[in-house]
Symmetry: C2
Subunit: 308 residues, 2 copies
Amino acid sequence: MLNPSDFIQEAVEEIRNTVGDEKAIIALSGGVDSSVASVLAGKAIGDNLTAVFVDHGLLREGEAEYVKKTFSERLNFRYIDASDEFLGELEGVTDPEEKRKIIGRVFIEVFERVAEEIGARYLVQGTIAPDWIESEGKIKSHHNVALPHGLVLEIVEPIRELYKDEVREIGLELGLPREMIQRQPFPGPGLAVRIVGEITREKIGICRRANAIVEEEVLESGLHESLWQYFAVLTDTMVTGVKGDVRDFGYLVVIRMVESLDAMTASVPELPWELVKRISKRITSEIPEVTHVALSVSDKPPSTIEFA
Amino acid sequence: MLNPSDFIQEAVEEIRNTVGDEKAIIALSGGVDSSVASVLAGKAIGDNLTAVFVDHGLLREGEAEYVKKTFSERLNFRYIDASDEFLGELEGVTDPEEKRKIIGRVFIEVFERVAEEIGARYLVQGTIAPDWIESEGKIKSHHNVALPHGLVLEIVEPIRELYKDEVREIGLELGLPREMIQRQPFPGPGLAVRIVGEITREKIGICRRANAIVEEEVLESGLHESLWQYFAVLTDTMVTGVKGDVRDFGYLVVIRMVESLDAMTASVPELPWELVKRISKRITSEIPEVTHVALSVSDKPPSTIEFA
């Protein structure tokens, strides 16, 4: 059994011992993992930690504002709009592993620049157990990659041994807002993993709106309490539809809502049918580029939680 | 209100008047529409009608055998394996309208050859009302196209004014097996409309197996009585999965089950969740190329019943 205050004390000491009086940066994404890691590291080394929020252009609706509001008074916080850089590098790339790798690489490059500027020696990351267990199984690469040429940043992973429910406990103990702690996990590569095929600004817009509709409806229904994740995937499948009396041709969006304890396995529960239909109707009526909506029904395994 | 025996009498007379002592062929697909049209025309002109069953290589599991068994004693029946020709022409084609057009064209070409051989003058077709109403709305093209160069066949459409439920009534009155009459509609272009993107033999095999699983489970559940159509679509979206402990990458299959009265509108009802999960699990476990299954939830409109 994890004792939150013991864990925090030990983690803080370990970070202090490791980092000493040097500077560190952390990639603060606004998810539970990196938020907890940021606050732990901030507690350990104060303003010697720079919490960098990188806007890769693949954020959810309102994401940047939310993170700014939550952390700008709590941490030495920096917002960096690197969306042009990310989207430029992703142009024409369709392979999901390739996309993850590019995003991971640019991420680290952006850090390197900030790190050089502030004279940092350490990169703190919010890696948790399922991330590296999956990586070692060669299921997905994560962006806790080694640094490229240039400045060498040592990686510090204070919550590497924890599972999600434990991270949430620590977050509450650290005084993070409950609303933030209970937020569904959001992948580091952002909407990139929810856009199948090439990523374009148009597709990001569609995917962002579809995800906002799913989140709104799930929050409204109260189901966010029992669901692990709930989101929309913009596939690269085009489906014939009919709008008014004329033929239409648009995207297939898949909505996915899963229950899970630790992301190692996940299952799709029976969902209120009116909710599913309402989400579907809102998506096709509010997003003209979408003609068809389907509800994912595959568990993990054999599927993964995110599509890519 | 349609009076079945009056309709049959009038239709038979009209076919006789039109065709006279000439020869006719019909594209018998095994669906309710073409079956009813075939039997009507056979009733009208006997062996002067050749019912041609064209295997375009895009049939459901057991389809060819079923049609042979049902019609070879009832009609002047011919089975033609034209799958190489169809699949050759479809190679590399991804646009759904283009696929429909190619299939329609090759269809007519095959007929033309048989028609020349038997000296036919007429092409009987099982077109029903929603087909041409939709075509005129430019939603989908159907393969009741005009003939290409060469032999001119006149098109006869004896059930052109009927809706599906009326076609079924006529079929029963004509003594067709109830099981056949109640079969769900199957599109003329076959599995082509259920394979998004390029059609290959591998993808046909996957799509055929997924459709067989959906049909088996729906029949087993008894839901075929209330559903208009129930099928599986092989999309061109690839999804990350996990088999054993290793990363897997495979197709997204969408299952679609709709209620409808006449195909002009359709809706997805709430379905027994155990059935949906069972279908999903069978598809991912019995078809290794598939990693993810989703249930279509969009009504028509804004979607169409088939995906293409």
